[in-house]
Each structure stands twice: as C-alpha cells, then as structure tokens.
C-alpha cells in the first residue's frame, strides 16, 4: 500500500474503532455539578408487569434473597460522589439464578455487571449472554430498573430487573 493511503487507512480505522468503543461504553461518570435530575425513581410496580412480560410470570414471584451492600458508604450528596457497588439479590428463575451488581455514583446508575445469569443449559446461557448487554444499555439509558424485557429472554430480563431493583433499593437509601 502506498504510504499516504496506508496512513489514511490507519487513521480512519482508529477513528472508527474509537467511535465503536464510545457507542458500546457506559455514559461518563457524573460530576458534582450535575443536578440529581436523573435521580433513582424506584418503581413500585413489580417488573413482571412490564409490557412484554409473559402473563405466567405474575403468579411466579420468585424468591428474593437478602440484599448485600458493598462496604463503601453512601457519600454526602453535596460533594462529588465516589462510585460504590451494590450487589442485588439472587433471583431464582426456572433457568438458574440471576444476580447483578450495580455501580452507583450518587443517585446515578453508572454501570451494571451481571454476577450470575441463567445457565440451566447452553441455550439459556447464550440467550442471557445476548440479553444482558442489551438490558445494561437500557438500564443506563433509563436510569432505572423499569425497562422493557428483551424478547425471547423474558426470564433473564425479569430476574435482571428484579435483582437490580433490589440493589437500587438497598443502595439508594
């Protein structure tokens, strides 16, 4: 490849990859100046009542275990909040436990990590591997656990939002 073409190709490639990384990355950490407008609005409705949840989910409550809070204490709202992690409850589903960990900065949801996802078989594992990143992006955009279920992965979605809600309830106090 001729040198100018090679240089241009490398530049365009790097720019594209950076853009792709930005697209797939969580929103930037909030600073103190950001008004807590996007504060957590802990929903009272059970996640099973979301539009795409199957009707049989309503009766099947699923055992919600104890909530564990991370060691970092909730910081005062006036200073720049240090991010803290809160583990959600492990939610039982027919296809295995679902548990997530939320990273909070003040009242802002900074990130969600899955600690355990449905794994009863290979299919549910690949489904949850596909659903979890979508749910994470939805949660980060909505700044709440009230998000649409990923079609085809209703149990995973349900467990994910329940575990997340439990974590938010525990961490948002």
């Amino acid at each position: 490849m001729r040198r100018p073409t090679a240089a241009a190709t490398v530049l365009v490639s790097l720019a594209s990859l950076t853009l792709a990384w930005q697209l797939g990355s969580p929103p930037v950490l909030p600073t103190a100046s950001v008004a807590p407008a996007a504060a957590l609005r802990a929903p009272t409705a059970p996640p099973a009542s979301t539009a795409s949840g199957p009707p049989d989910q309503t009766g099947q409550a699923g055992h919600v275990g104890p909530v564990t809070t991370a060691t970092t204490s909730a910081p005062a709202m006036s200073t720049a909040p240090a991010p803290r992690t809160v583990d959600g409850a492990a939610v039982l589903t027919p296809y295995g436990d679902v548990q997530v960990q939320v990273v909070l900065a003040g009242n802002q949801i900074v990130d969600v990590h899955p600690l355990h996802l449905t794994d009863a078989n290979q299919h549910s594992r690949s489904l949850s591997a596909y659903a979890a990143p979508k749910l994470r992006l939805e949660v980060l955009a909505a700044q709440s656990a009230t998000v649409d279920a990923v079609s085809g992965a209703t149990y995973t979605s349900d467990g994910y939002t329940r575990s997340l809600q439990a974590a938010l309830d525990a961490g948002g106090q």
């Binding site: 490849m1 001729r2 073409t5 190709t9 490639s13 594209s16 990859l17 853009l19 792709a20 990384w21 697209l23 797939g24 990355s25 969580p26 990130d111 990590h113 899955p114 600690l115 355990h116 996802l117 794994d119 078989n121 290979q122 299919h123 549910s124 594992r125 690949s126 591997a129 596909y130 990143p133 979508k134 994470r136 992006l137 990923v150 085809g152």
Partner: protein
C-alpha cells in the same frame, strides 16, 4: 567490449554507442499506476472487513465486557472477539486463494498464496484462542476451575441444548488438520495431491462453523446490522470461490475443449505439447501466465499441474514446455496426440502489464525460459518496439541442452532481440559463468552493467530456480535497478 564466443549469440547492434535514458510511455506508466490503485483498493477493503468486525463487537458493548466485570465474563468476551476476528481473517484467506481475477492480476498468484499462508498464522491461533477462552470462561461461570473445566466443559457444550456446537467442534478439528498438513515438515512427507485434497476440506470447515456463529454467537444473534454484515461477507466469499475457483474453470474447459495436437521433443527430458482448442481467442491468456493442466489419460487425470505457456497465444493454439522433474511430468513425455485437457486459469501477473519502462530485460535459467520465451515473443510483436529494446539473458549449463535456442536465435535475427546465452559453471555466490564474473572483478552487479548497457532503465523479468533468482535479484538491486522494476513469480505452493 568482447563476449566469450561460446556464450553470446545474437544481435548486439545497440550495444555500441548505448542510449540515453528512455522514458516509459504514457500507457505503460498508467497501467502500472492502475495496478497500484487496485492494490490499495483491495487492501483497504481487507482492512475495512477487519475493522468492521472489531467495530461491531465494540459497539455492542464488547469493549466494556472485555475491560470490566468478573473474570469469567471477560474471558468469554475475549473468546467472542478472537472468534470474530479469526473468522474474518479466514474468509480473507479463502478470497486470497480463490483465484479471483482482481487479486491475481494485482499481486500474482504466487504472492496471493504467500499472503494466504501468512494470514493463516494469525487466523488459526485466534480461532484456537476463541475455543479455549469460551470453554474456560463458561466453565468458570459454572464455578469450575480452569483445570477441570477444560475437560468437562466441552462435554457439557456438546451434550447441551445447542446442536450447532457439534458442527463447530468439527470445523475446529478440520482446520487444525488442514493447518498441520500444511506445515513444511508434513508437506515434504505428503504427496501434493493428498495435501490438496486435505486442504480443500478447509472449505467444509468454514461452512461447518457458520451455524454456531449465527445462532449461538451473541454478537450476531439479535443485531440485525451485524448479522447483515456477516451474511454479506459469507455470501460474497462463497460466491467468489464458487464462480472463480470451480465454475469458471469448468466453463472454460467445456468451451475450449483443448486437445493435444502434437508432442515435440525439444531436448533430453524436455517436451513441448502443442494444444488446439475451440474459440481460444476468447480465453484471456497472456504471455507469462500459467494454467493448471489436467490431462485426461490414465495415470495423469487425478492431478493438475501448473505450467506456463511457452509461446505467445495466437488465438488458436497453446503450447507448454515441460521438463521431466519426476512423478507426473515423466508420464507427460508419453502423452499421445488427441488427449483431452482440462484447464484452470490462466493465472499469474508475470506479464507485460507489469512493465513500467520501454526497455525490458528478461533473465531466465533452465526451464524458466518457458514464460520468458513467450514474453519475448509478445514484446517483440509490438510494432512500436525498436530493435534492441528487448534483451534476453539465458543462463544454462551447456549450449546443447538449452531449450528454444533456435527459436530465440530466430527472434534475434528477425525481430531485433538482444540475446545473451551464458553457459559454464558459476563461481561461489555468483549466478554468472566464471569468465563473466571475472570481468566484474567477482561482482555480478558490475558484470550485469557490462552485459546490459542502460541496465537501470529496464524492467527486469526473472524466472528460474528460487535460489538462483535470489542471487539474480540481489545483483540487480546492487546494480541500482529499482525494486519496482524487478518482476518475478515464485512457485513454492
């Protein structure tokens, strides 16, 4: 200047008085520029495929999965990325070896295959890393230690609810077999035919890997744009391979119905096969190119062999000239007129299209004279070529065994070819006969300047044994010939 009488034959009119530097004609230069533009376009397309693969992965949050979260999840993300990149490179490998006309005319068949081999050294490790990282990552998510998980997880994957895992495992196994049989040590022990049959199963390996990627691949399932990208890549690759690797050779073999017309003994152990076919003016073959020839006769039909045409095509006949190099080429000496011939090709970029200057020096050794002889004929046929612009430097052991001696001498007297036939033993580290090396004070570069006045202003085509070509090309570069003016084709595959 005096040439030893035994080694130089032919017209040397322009040796006396030399010439000033010649400029390439406009058309010659623009063809060469077009080739470089084509190379740039192909390379940009290849880079774009790899960048798009990584870009889609990152855009779906893959970078985040890779950089944060629990170790097991990061391992799985690594497995996803290596699998995607490995597959993209594998498809590029198929395209490089798929006899695509654009690739062939731009890089030449030989260099495309070298790139194919280089890519395999990246693609295969990536795919092995993919299998390993996904297996250990899933095992860790199941709470198994890597040591146990490595053994247990494949069983769970295969017996799980995803049937596509079976084909994926088979694909990986096939690819490993293809790679192992292509390692130099294994190639020496395998016949070319056996290796080729094994190598063709690489197509099956790629096909078997498609289902698990589309169904289980979390980066593709549910992402319509990514899915479209991969489907397009697969369809384009499969289509190109099908058309150029299989259909086009079939159509050409059926259309031209080549048959052996005459077998001529040229020298001890060397025969020329004259072939006749229908509508050969429609076969886009040029001097310097080669085809894969398959003779439909007992003992020969199973293997196709690459041989250059040894005469410029005239639209009705083709000629190849073959030296007995053992196994199949020996049986060729006994091929009878009337034998049907199946072809693949023409392939190769060792043609006058590479030319950047008006003056051309063609250097050949041994049976390497075949494409050189055809090139000389085509270049001399151009009525714009002044006498003496085309030189042939032909290195052989002794005059009597040098093929095409009479034909070249006729080109010299009739068409103004500068013909230098050099014979006799070489000195150490030299490719020239001892008496020539002596004038260059043991320096091949100086001797070349002596033999070919205005050397730097020539395009130089080199064809011969690989070690000999290395010596010739280092002498040419030492003599100041720019690399862009040195053309060769190397057959090692």
């Amino acid at each position: 200047m005096s040439f030893p009488p035994s080694s130089a034959v032919g017209d040397r009119r322009d040796v006396i008085g030399g010439r000033g530097p010649t400029r390439p004609t406009a058309s010659v230069a623009s063809v060469s520029r077009a080739r470089r533009r084509r190379a740039d376009a192909l390379e940009i397309a290849a880079v774009a495929v790899v960048v798009a693969t990584a870009g889609f992965f990152l855009a779906h949050g893959g970078g985040h999965d890779l950089a944060s979260g629990p170790a097991a999840g990061r391992l799985v993300a690594l497995g996803r990325l290596t699998g995607l990149l490995g597959t993209a490179l594998l498809l590029l490998q198929l395209l490089l070896a798929g006899r695509l006309p654009w690739v062939d005319r731009t890089y030449g068949h030989d260099r495309a295959l070298v790139a194919h081999r280089h890519l395999s050294r990246v693609a295969l490790p990536l795919l092995l890393a993919h299998a390993g990282a996904i297996t250990v990552g899933y095992a860790a998510q199941d709470g198994l230690s890597p040591l146990v998980g490595w053994l247990v997880e494949p069983v769970r994957l295969l017996s799980g609810a995803v049937p596509d895992m079976l084909t994926a495992f088979a694909a990986m196994g096939l690819l490993v077999v293809v790679a192992v049989t292509s390692v130099a040590a294994a190639r020496r022990r395998l016949s070319r035919e056996a290796w080729h049959v094994v190598h063709l199963t690489g197509y099956a390996a790629v096909a078997l890997s498609v289902p698990h990627q589309l169904s289980a691949g979390s980066d593709i399932a549910g992402h319509p744009v990514t899915r479209l990208f991969w489907l397009a890549l697969y369809i384009a690759t499969a289509g190109a391979v099908l058309v150029f690797r299989f259909l086009l050779p079939l159509v050409r073999s059926l259309r031209h119905t080549l048959t052996v017309e005459e077998v001529v003994h040229e020298a001890p152990g060397v025969v020329s096969l004259h072939l006749r076919g229908r509508a050969l003016h429609r076969l886009p073959v040029r001097a310097g190119q080669f085809l894969q020839w398959r003779f439909l006769t007992p003992g020969l039909w199973a293997a196709a062999h690459p041989w250059s045409i040894s005469a410029a095509p005239d639209g009705q006949h083709l000629r190849i000239t073959v030296r007995d190099l053992g196994d199949h080429s020996r049986r060729l000496l006994n091929v009878r007129p009337g034998t049907r011939v199946v072809i693949e090709g023409p392939y190769g970029a060792f043609t006058a299209e590479r030319r950047t200057r008006r003056r051309v020096l063609l250097i050949a050794a041994g049976i390497g004279i075949t494409p050189i002889r055809a090139l000389a004929e085509e270049l001399l046929a151009d009525s714009d070529t002044p006498p003496g612009d085309i030189s042939v430097l032909y290195r052989g052991a002794q005059m009597e065994t040098m093929v095409f001696r009479c034909e070249l001498e006729r080109m010299s007297t009739d068409a103004g070819l500068r013909l230098l036939m050099l014979t006799g033993p070489s000195g150490r580290g030299s490719w020239l006969p001892l008496q020539h090396a002596a004038w260059g004070r043991d320096d091949d570069a100086a001797a070349l300047h002596h033999l070919v006045p205005g050397l730097r202003d020539h395009d130089v085509y080199v064809c011969g044994p690989a070690a000999w070509m290395d010596l010739v090309e280092s002498a040419l570069r030492a003599a100041g010939v720019p690399a862009a003016q040195i053309h060769d084709e190397r057959f090692t595959a």
